[in-house]
Structures are given as structure tokens and as C-alpha cells.
């Protein structure tokens, strides 16, 4: 499964809401369609995208086919983003201290108007 499939599946607010609902427990298409004010086929389309991305699985019961949240791809995507984030954050924290030095240097060279005598 590519990350892109995960991100694309997550890019839609309805699909994110469906996942949030499924985090509370499994549900059938009918149960999912109700709060969203959407037709069953429209919900089914979203479920198909989520299923292809591995974010949900469907039960075997032919009548109900309840949907269940699969947390693995979501966790993977988060881990990858976290790593990338950690690198940027480490750099930016070094930049924070450098900027403090640069501000102090500037204040020394050119006293700020607030510090100037009237």
C-alpha cells in the first residue's frame, strides 16, 4: 500500500468522518449513511475508497457486511510524517537559537527606538 493511497483516502472530509465513526465500533452501510444525510450508493463509493486503501475492512456476512476500522495504514502514515517532522523541528529549534543571537547582535549595533533616550 502506498502512502499516497492512504493520504488520498484521507483527503475527503466525509471519509474522515466515516473513519471517526468507525473508531467507536463497526457499523453497516445503512448505519453510516444515516448521520451523513447521503444516499447509500454515495456512502458505498466512499467505503470502497477506504477499503482499497486498507483503512477499513468489511465483514463476511452478505446481508450486513459491517465496516471495521483498520488502524495499521493510518499508524504507518503517522509514523512516517512524524519522522520527517522531527528532522524539521530539530533544525528549526537550532534556527530559533541562531535568530535570538542575530536579534541580540542587531540590538547591540542599533539600539531599538524603545531603548533610545527621549
Amino acid at each position: 500500500m502506498t502512502l499516497d493511497t492512504t493520504f488520498a483516502a484521507l483527503s475527503d472530509p466525509t471519509r474522515r468522518a466515516i473513519l471517526a465513526r468507525l473508531a467507536l465500533g463497526e457499523a453497516t452501510v445503512n448505519e453510516l449513511a444515516k448521520p451523513f444525510d447521503m444516499s447509500q450508493p454515495a456512502i458505498s463509493k466512499h467505503l470502497k475508497v477506504l477499503e482499497q486503501a486498507g483503512l477499513i475492512s468489511r465483514g463476511r456476512d452478505a446481508q450486513r457486511r459491517p465496516c471495521r476500522l483498520e488502524t495499521r495504514p493510518l499508524a504507518d502514515a503517522n509514523v512516517w510524517l512524524e519522522r520527517y517532522r522531527a528532522l524539521f523541528e530539530a533544525r528549526f529549534q537550532k534556527l530559533d537559537s541562531l535568530l535570538e543571537e542575530m536579534k541580540a547582535e542587531r540590538a547591540k549595533r542599533k539600539p531599538s527606538p524603545r531603548g533610545a533616550r527621549k
Binding site: 512516517w80 533544525r91 534556527l95 535568530l99 542575530m102 542587531r106
Partner: protein
């Protein structure tokens, strides 16, 4: 004070937003003057940047080279500046050659100042969704390798 967001956007972009407690001309300098860049654009585990050359003009080139603390490993990046609007905006292309295949990206950085604080927004665009995935995943592997190094240090 550091509320950074890093998010995927569309199928091949990553957007990074971070505020700095400094006016934007200083932030802009820190991004474009080699002697300043060398002090912060580093890895997480003692990597240094012995080489940083920046010919900061439209069409000008940049070269950044990193070294691991033991000097055995290296990483390098070449850049070309496409648009420059001091101190508000930089558009540049990057080629990262620390991987089996060179990775290209196109980066738009904007600096917006408000009340003495500067918000940086970087939009990093990769040529394909697969390349973006690869960058995210390789970042993870590198991070894991670093963690293992730390673990080794702790147990040895």
C-alpha cells in the same frame, strides 16, 4: 512557542508551516547566507555541514554537503534559485543525491511578518507521488538507524 505543522497536500506535496520569533529579514538571511545556514540546517544527531556555497541570485546555484560525526557518511544537495523576492519569497529547485537515485524537488518558501514574528510556509513538491512516499519513508529509516546507533551507545 513552536507550533509547526507538516502535512501532505494533494498527491505529491508536503507543506511545512512554522513561526519564528524574529523579524523576517533576519529569518530570510538565516536561510540564504552560507555562514548562517551552516549553523542550523543540520541533522538530528551531530551531523555537520562543512560545505555550503550559495550564489543567491535568480539562476544561481547552491551546494550543501553534510558529514556524519565520525566523518564516514555524507549527504549532499544541489540547488538552483528560480525566483527571489527579498525578504518575502524564494522559489528553488533541489536535487538530493544522498540516495541511490537522485531526488528532485521544487520548493516555494514564503516569509510573512506580523508583530515582529515571521511565519514560514514551505511547499515542497516532488515529481511524483511515489517520490514523495519514498522521501517520507527513507526519512523514517534514517531516523530508525539513528535510534539504533543511540541504543548501541547506551548498551556498549
Amino acid at each position: 512557542m513552536s507550533d509547526m505543522t507538516l502535512k501532505p497536500q494533494g498527491d505529491r506535496e508536503i507543506v511545512v508551516v512554522r513561526a519564528f520569533n524574529a523579524p523576517r529579514d533576519l529569518v530570510f538571511d538565516a536561510f540564504t547566507k552560507p555562514e548562517l545556514v551552516q549553523r542550523w540546517m543540520l541533522g538530528t544527531d551531530g551531523w555537520s555541514m562543512p560545505v555550503c556555497r550559495i550564489d543567491f541570485k535568480v539562476g544561481g546555484k547552491g551546494r550543501y554537503e553534510w558529514k556524519s560525526p565520525d566523518g564516514k557518511h555524507g549527504m549532499a544537495l544541489s540547488a538552483e534559485f528560480v525566483e527571489i523576492e527579498r525578504p518575502a519569497r524564494i522559489v528553488h529547485k533541489e536535487i538530493f543525491d544522498g540516495t541511490p537515485k537522485p531526488i528532485a524537488s521544487h520548493i516555494t518558501s514564503t516569509f510573512v511578518e506580523e508583530d515582529g514574528r515571521t511565519t514560514l510556509t514551505m511547499v515542497i513538491r516532488y515529481p511524483t507521488p511515489e517520490v514523495r512516499d519514498f522521501m517520507l519513508k527513507s526519512g523514517m529509516e534514517k531516523g530508525m538507524a539513528l535510534s539504533f546507533t543511540r541504543l548501541e551507545k547506551m548498551v556498549s
